[in-house]
Amino acid sequence: MVSIDEKRYPGRKRPPQSAYEQRYAKGRRTKFLGIRGYVIRPMWLALKSALRATFGSQPDVFYTDKRGPNTLLYPKEKLQLPDLYRGKNEVVWQCCIGCELCARICPNQCIEMEVFEADRVSDMPEELLGPNRSTQDEKKNQIKRPGIDFGRCMFCGNCEEYCPTGAMRMTDEFELANSSRDALVFEAELLRVEPYTLEGEVKLQNKIREIPLVDSDNCTGCQLCMRNCPTRCIEMVDGPKLRKDKPIKNPKVDTSKCVGCATCMSNCKFNALKMEAV
């Protein structure tokens, strides 16, 4: 007999069943009827369940083998969370480059960037700074760091996924309940953590896989994009168009460094940049 799965996805193999699935697939059999199926078997199962709940071991998160009661005594016992659990965010300030990508990507618009004086983080050792040039630049002595309103956050994990530096991380902390909505708004300072380990330079990764494309018809060479790029990957080079017989400088993006944060595009006053998927 062809199972529904095989009909729907021909040729696809079912993943191996976990111990949990196997147990419950077995439990669903209902071929016993009469006094065996309606009296003896339910009573036996109830007895087994009672014994397991009383003498069994604590449940683990994957409900593999023998386990105890299905409920945890919550404030006293806590569930062992999986590694990828998405709880309250934290931001490693030393890694964050203030690119605003998280604020832009957040589907609930719950991230707000806060502006700080640069020297608040500049007392860290030089080698840990990595590519974080916005903190070192003498002209720009201000930095931006994200703060999150957890009253609106749906813990989708997009911010963690697209953060180019890995500064935004989601922890196991899930006890955020509070009686006032204001207490759910976490300022940037509250999310700040020091790095657990930072090995070498912070690597920049373009996780959103977009880079800006220059429309040289519109570009006036004003250098706004270059000044605001958090990774300083824009260089002004001679463009094809001339003004007063001199070529207009157009931005050229170093695609190995660009993180696709679209700050340049939103800063451009002449609509000369747009983001393109690569």
């Binding site: 309606y38 009296v39 339910p42 009573m43 199962l45 109830a46 007895l47 369940s49 009672a50 397991r52 709940a53 009383t54 009661p69 299905n70 409920t71 005594l73």
Partner: protein
């Protein structure tokens, strides 16, 4: 243990002890005061020249007050007082056990349902006081009478239920001496009192003026037809074997027979257990209170402590049913004397409690394992399965009786 003797001894000890120190002086003082006022009235009448003897007229009353301790210690008053105290003691003991049953039920249900059961309220972190907290909660609820209900019947129905249940306790012996009363037709009386409850349920369901309660009450009446007859037939088998309607006599007959009746009549015991589950209206036969179908069954419109009392009564009925099962089929309080000083006096009570608790564990286990049956299913089951089997069980009992008479077993 003969509870009447013990209680009477304690009462005599207390009253005669108090008599010398409190009761006699106090009532003597009272009599003196009364006499003083009487003599005042007498003096008042003397002013008018009437020669009266009011003090002498009230002499019987004052001497009665003076001799109040002796009045209390007289035979009639003492036996009435003793019966009252015994009744209260047994009622309190049963109610305490009922609280334990509710705790057991919730805890075991939790474990069967893969949970913990009550946990936080109570001693040593096991939720033992949860029942008391819940009772307190019910106690604080407002008592609401539905507007269009039949007011009198609505209030009377729980009274019928509760009082008929307490009447069972009045005739239920827990050992040769531990009972409120042990009439000769005890088992008959107990079964009659058990059978009153469906009437209370029907009345309560009808008086609440609600579709669900009415259906619940009707179901109770319909169900009664199917389980009551096999139940009485199994009891008839036991009575044929024992030759008496007396609970104490039945237990005595079992120890003369040398075997619990539940062993030769295992069929009867199983039928009895099924029917008694139906009698005390627990899953799988809780049709009148099918909370999945009928909100809360016939108790839908009841609230507050009245509902709490109805629940308590249901557990008391469960206790009585288990006790009758233990007496009829499991040898009641017969068992070896426990060789521990202090416990050997009450070993009979301990044995019957052990048997009752085992039967109640079985009740709880059944309740949380089996699905509820439908009305037609229980009628079908009762008339076409249980009734013939119960009749067969009667024949077994008659056979054992005849053979026993022939070969001199008894």
């Amino acid at each position: 243990m003969d509870i009447y003797q013990v209680v009477e001894a304690i009462l005599v000890w207390i009253i005669s002890g108090l008599g010398d120190t409190i009761i006699t002086p106090l009532f003597g003082l009272l009599a003196t005061i009364i006499e003083f006022f009487l003599s005042l009235i007498d003096g008042f009448f003397d002013l008018f020249g009437w020669d009266t003897d009011i003090v002498g007229f009230f002499e019987p009353l004052t001497s009665f007050i003076r001799d109040f301790t002796e009045f209390l210690l007289s035979d009639t008053v003492m036996s009435i007082l003793t019966a009252l105290v015994v009744g209260i003691v047994i009622l309190v003991l049963v109610m305490l056990q009922v609280i334990i049953f509710i705790y057991m039920e919730r805890k075991i249900f939790g474990r069967i349902g893969d949970r913990r059961g009550p946990k936080y309220v109570g001693l040593i972190d096991h939720g033992f006081l949860q029942q008391i907290a819940d009772a307190l909660k019910l106690f604080l609820k407002e008592i609401i009478t539905p507007e269009k209900s039949d007011k009198m019947l609505y209030h009377v129905a729980p009274v019928i239920l509760i009082s008929s249940t307490l009447m069972i306790l009045a005739a239920l012996p827990f050992s040769e001496g531990f009972y409120i009363s042990a009439p000769k037709g005890g088992i008959l009386f107990i079964m009659a009192m058990f059978a009153v409850a469906p009437i209370a349920i029907l009345v309560g369901g009808w008086a609440s003026n609600n579709k669900y309660t009415l259906i619940g009450g009707m179901r109770s009446a319909a169900m009664m037809m199917s389980y009551e007859i096999p139940l009485l037939l199994t009891i008839a088998a036991v009575i044929i074997l024992a030759g008496t309607f007396d609970s104490i006599g039945i237990v005595q007959a079992q120890s003369d027979f040398g075997m619990w009746y539940g062993i030769p009549m295992i069929l009867g015991f199983i039928i009895f257990m099924i029917c008694i589950v139906a009698e005390v209206e627990r899953i799988p036969f809780d049709l009148p209170e099918a909370e999945a179908e009928l909100v809360e069954g016939w108790t839908t419109e009841y609230g507050g402590m009245r509902l709490g009392l109805i629940w308590l009564t249901e557990y008391t009925r469960m206790y009585c049913g288990a006790a009758i099962g233990a007496i009829l089929f499991l040898g009641g309080w017969s068992g070896p004397t426990i060789p521990v000083p202090g416990l050997d006096v009450i070993s009979g009570e301990i044995w019957i409690s052990v048997k009752i608790y085992i039967i109640i564990l079985l009740f709880i286990w059944i309740r949380w394992s089996l699905p509820r049956v439908r009305t037609d299913q229980i009628l079908h089951f009762g008339w076409r399965r249980l009734l013939p089997l119960a009749l067969f069980n009667v024949f077994i009992a008659i056979g054992i009786k005849i053979l026993g008479d022939m070969w001199g077993w008894f």
